[in-house]
């Protein structure tokens, strides 16, 4: 199948005698919004790091954007975007300087950089903030800018690690609109979140418990399967079985 952008088979990550990720397998299709759920300590971050080419799996294999996660981490890094909950732009640089830096990192030409910066300014209604230091922007704005910059090089897949942590509901709503738009344009979104209402927005959701994937389906199917009213119920039902703490 051509439109599968992430495919992993039984990948594990073992630290000493601790198995952080235990033989997980899944596939993500192009343009999907893939929700990656799990309690703290379930192994989400470790799994995500392996997908981003930051660490090698102890066992198993997989491809991201068509590249082998064991051998081609450089190529993977070029074709993905990443944004984490920890705010990831430079506070003491201006909006424009941040854009220019990341455009430079991904090797965009001057012209492309300028054009994409204009798009971002227009999309976020940021024209006036062009030369504002990022430090002085409200958190919600920063997160939106952060997302725009994470996708500045038009990556195939964007990894979002709890992107809306600490953001107000209105901005979260706007943020998800941006996610939808990117997904409509064909970008695959891989997102972790603790907000169960956000899980409902995803095309498909996987729930990790103790390093393993316990459930993986569309939110509607999962609710049917566990006979639950909301994703919140589904999540609590599964997370209760967790044996290891944080």
């Amino acid at each position: 199948m051509k439109d599968i952008v992430i495919s992993v088979k039984e990948i594990s990550k073992v630290f000493g005698d601790f198995t952080a990720v235990d033989k997980i397998s899944f596939e993500v299709r192009k343009g999907e919004i893939f929700g990656f759920l799990g309690a703290n300590g379930a192994g989400k971050t470790t799994a995500m790091r392996m997908l981003c080419g930051l660490s090698f799996p102890t066992h198993g294999s997989g491809t991201v954007a068509g590249f082998d996660i064991r051998k081609q981490s450089e190529e993977i890094k070029r074709n993905i975007g990443y944004m984490s909950q920890k705010f990831s732009l430079y506070n003491n640089l201006t909006v424009w300087e941040n854009i220019r830096l990341f455009a430079g990192i991904y090797g965009l030409s001057k012209q492309e950089t300028k054009q994409r910066a204009e798009n971002i300014f227009k999309q976020l209604d940021f024209e006036k903030e062009r030369n504002t230091l990022v430090a002085s922007l409200p958190l919600g704005w920063k997160q939106k800018l952060s997302f725009s910059i994470a996708t500045i090089h038009k990556p195939e897949i964007v990894f979002l690690d709890e992107p809306t942590g600490g953001v107000d509901p209105i901005t979260r709503r706007q943020f998800w609109e941006m996610i939808y738009q990117a997904s409509n344009e064909g970008t695959t979104i891989f997102v972790t979140t603790h907000y169960m209402d956000e899980a409902e927005y995803c095309s498909r959701v996987s729930i990790m418990v103790d390093g393993q994937i316990r459930a993986l389906d569309t939110p509607a199917n999962l609710k049917k399967l566990y006979n639950a009213e909301s994703m919140d119920e589904v999540f609590r039902h599964l997370a209760r079985e967790a044996k290891r703490g944080e």
Partner: protein, 350 residues
């Protein structure tokens, strides 16, 4: 697709330029330290207050007192009674009292609460006051080479250089790297296609440039303000300084890999790097004066070798061949440090 390395360097430079206060400190510290050590803090003896107690005035004694007051190193503060001599010392109105007894014999009373002053002062006072007696004896022929006026600036300038570069290269880079770890931006950089080594290099370049500016100011201040001769070739001084800069930068990288917060990086830099330089490099205290247990320690302090080499080049004016040993040791230390710190940095990533 090629990442733009220059945009990285530009970003690091912007970080530094934006932080005006830190930049001022970094650029001014060398000048302040130089002036402080060059003028204010000196181990030379100046203006030692001397009182005199005389039982019976004679021509001989008068001559001696005249000589004393004329000497620029001593200030004659007046006559005292023999029994007031101690009060004089105790109230710090005098640092020394010269007592002439009935027969014109001398006794020196010295305030030795500051041992340095008392040591060198008493020897000098002795030689001034007894010169006449010695004049017909055969004197030692004393030549002070390389620093005939015994200026302490000559001694401090190489030491300050050893200190400044560690301070700026090691401390500033380690803090700059750890800051990115703390703020979470390091993660984003690592997920990007930039090679980690490039991230590090881009961080080091601006500090390297700043250090080169500092090297220039230090050399200018020492030549034109402190009158240090810079008798060796400028080229060799710069050459060995550049080796030392690379060494300091890799030390900074090493510190950044073992510290998890900026505070920790600062503390490690201050305690593990600055203190040994001040105490164990021979900058202030001669290595020979260390207790024998500590004697071998300076040999692993890079600053010791650098300071020694700079002293030979700058003050003694020796050719670069005279410091081959120091250069080789510094290069060896740099290679080991670069290797270890890069390895640790890469291990940390996984």
């Amino acid at each position: 697709m090629k990442t733009n390395f220059l945009s990285f360097v530009k970003k690091e430079a912007l970080h530094i330029l934006r932080d005006k206060r830190t930049m001022m400190i970094v650029l001014l510290i060398p000048i302040v330290l130089m002036i402080l050590f060059g003028f204010a803090i000196s181990t030379e003896l100046n203006n030692l207050n001397v009182a005199v107690s005389v039982q019976k005035h004679t021509e001989d004694i008068r001559g001696k007192i005249e000589k004393l007051s004329a000497n620029p190193y001593f200030t004659f503060v007046g006559y005292v009674n023999q029994k007031d001599a101690e009060t004089m010392l105790r109230s710090s109105k005098a640092d020394a009292v010269v007592v002439f007894d009935n027969e014109g014999k001398m006794q020196f009373l010295f305030d030795a609460s500051n041992t340095n002053t008392a040591m060198s002062g008493s020897i000098y006072l002795q030689s001034v006051m007894s010169e006449e007696n010695l004049s017909n004896q055969e004197l030692f022929n004393l030549h002070l080479l390389y620093n005939p006026q015994m200026k302490s600036a000559y001694n401090f300038v190489p030491g300050i250089m050893g200190l400044i570069f560690i301070l700026i290269c090691a401390m500033m880079t380690s803090v700059a790297i750890v800051r990115e770890k703390e703020s979470g931006t390091m993660e984003v950089l690592l997920v990007s296609p930039v090679r980690p080594i490039k991230i590090i290099l881009a961080k080091m370049i601006p500090y390297f440039v700043i250090s080169c500016i500092n090297l220039t100011t230090i050399l200018l201040v020492s030549r034109f303000l402190l009158d240090v001769p810079l008798s060796g070739s400028l080229f060799s001084i710069i050459f060995i300084s550049l080796i030392y800069l690379v060494l300091s930068l890799s030390l900074g990288l090493l510190v950044s890999t073992i510290s998890s917060s900026q505070v920790m990086a600062l503390l490690i830099s201050a305690m593990v790097m600055m203190m040994p330089i001040l105490m164990l490099s021979g900058m202030i205290f001669p290595i020979e004066n260390l207790p024998s247990v500590l004697q071998p320690v300076p040999y692993i302090v890079p600053a010791k070798w650098y300071i020694e080499a700079i002293r030979k080049l700058m003050i003694m004016g020796l050719p670069i061949t005279a410091v081959t040993k120091e250069i080789l040791i510094l290069i060896l230390m740099s290679v080991v440090l670069v290797f270890v710190s890069l390895k640790k940095f890469n291990d940390k990533l996984d």
